[in-house]
């Protein structure tokens, strides 16, 4: 689900105890924020032409804010489907690392571990940290609550958004870049990540007049390779 900014705003503090209930309780304070965040996705996705059902299904299956907003914004600005998918997949590549970190905590059948792994998003992962390891019950408890809030928010957004009329009148199109900026702001703590952001932004700016919509975003990923040359 992401948004490091959400978790710092709420100042998540975990109560003593383990178990799925403890995980659910720990994440409850940011549940409202996640609901609102999900609603904003529902509104923006519908405005981008994704309809009513697709954003809801997406929130259930992808459960990753940045990637979902990326697809909606690329499609909404007339970009190619492939470009939207590529941008979303690249944004989600970091879940490989999250999955590796969560792996030792998961038990059971392949299906069960695959299902529980879906619940590992930034906030649930953070709450599940216990003595330097990931606690499966905390992860699952937090993850389920976050998933419910995210999906419920999306439903509310797609259904309620139509009551608004023309979203541009409300400046809703400015919410996409503002949201990406907010997500970006939480990631600028190191030289390399700042370099990556600079490189990505510069590439996107340079390529916009030169390439079809959506392509500049995908090509901007090369900025990550450029940033590798910067000291960490």
């Amino acid at each position: 689900m992401e948004a490091g900014s959400i978790i710092t705003d709420a100042g998540v503090v975990r109560q003593a105890g383990s178990g799925i209930g403890a995980g659910a309780r720990a994440v409850a304070p940011i549940g409202v924020a996640v609901l609102a965040f999900g609603a904003s996705f529902g509104i923006l996705a519908r405005d981008a032409g994704m309809g009513v059902a697709a954003p809801i299904v997406m929130s259930f299956t992808t459960f990753a804010g940045s990637a979902q907003f990326a697809v909606a914004s690329v499609l909404g600005s007339g970009g190619a489907v492939a470009a939207g998918v590529a941008a979303a997949v690249m944004l989600n590549l970091r879940y490989l690392a999250v999955g590796v970190s969560v792996a030792p905590a998961l038990r059971g059948s392949t299906v069960r571990r695959l299902a529980e792994a879906q619940l590992a998003v930034d906030e649930s992962w953070a709450i599940a940290q216990e003595d330097g390891r990931v606690d499966r019950d905390l992860l699952v408890g937090a993850g389920i609550v976050l998933a419910l809030c995210w999906c419920a928010g999306t439903v509310a957004g797609v259904l309620g958004g139509s009551a608004l009329g023309d979203p541009a009148d409300y400046g809703l199109d400015a919410m996409f870049p503002a949201l990406f900026l907010a997500l970006l702001a939480g990631q600028l703590g190191a030289r390399r990540t700042r370099a990556a952001a600079l490189a990505g932004g510069a590439i996107a700016l340079a390529l916009t007049p030169l390439a079809p919509p959506g392509i500049p975003i995908v090509a901007a990923a090369a900025g990550a390779l450029i940033a590798l040359r910067v000291r960490p």
């Binding site: 032409g49 299956t61 989600n92 690392a97 999955g99 409300y170 400046g171 919410m175 870049p177 390439a211």
Partner: protein
Amino acid sequence: MTGVWVAVAGVGVATIALKGAGPLVFARRPLPRAPAAVMPLLAPCLLAALVVGQTVADGRALVVDARLAGVAAAALALLLRAPLLVVLATAAGVAAGMRALGAA
């Protein structure tokens, strides 16, 4: 709409696979070093590209309009450590205001 569903399905399958690959495939093995070094850099890189693309791009043209004012206001709100929803509302409000005033 077909394109929308293709996108949802594609991203869905990819994300389910990415989240599951750690527990199912890599288990206790660490990721190879080079991909592991690049991975944390992809999100800030792409997010910055998305900020640029969604603020000043209109198809293939670079334009300055109410969105830029909204994003600038959002940046200020972020510097002032406003909560996320306030940041988003600020962006929308400033952009809407500029349009209402006929300024952009």
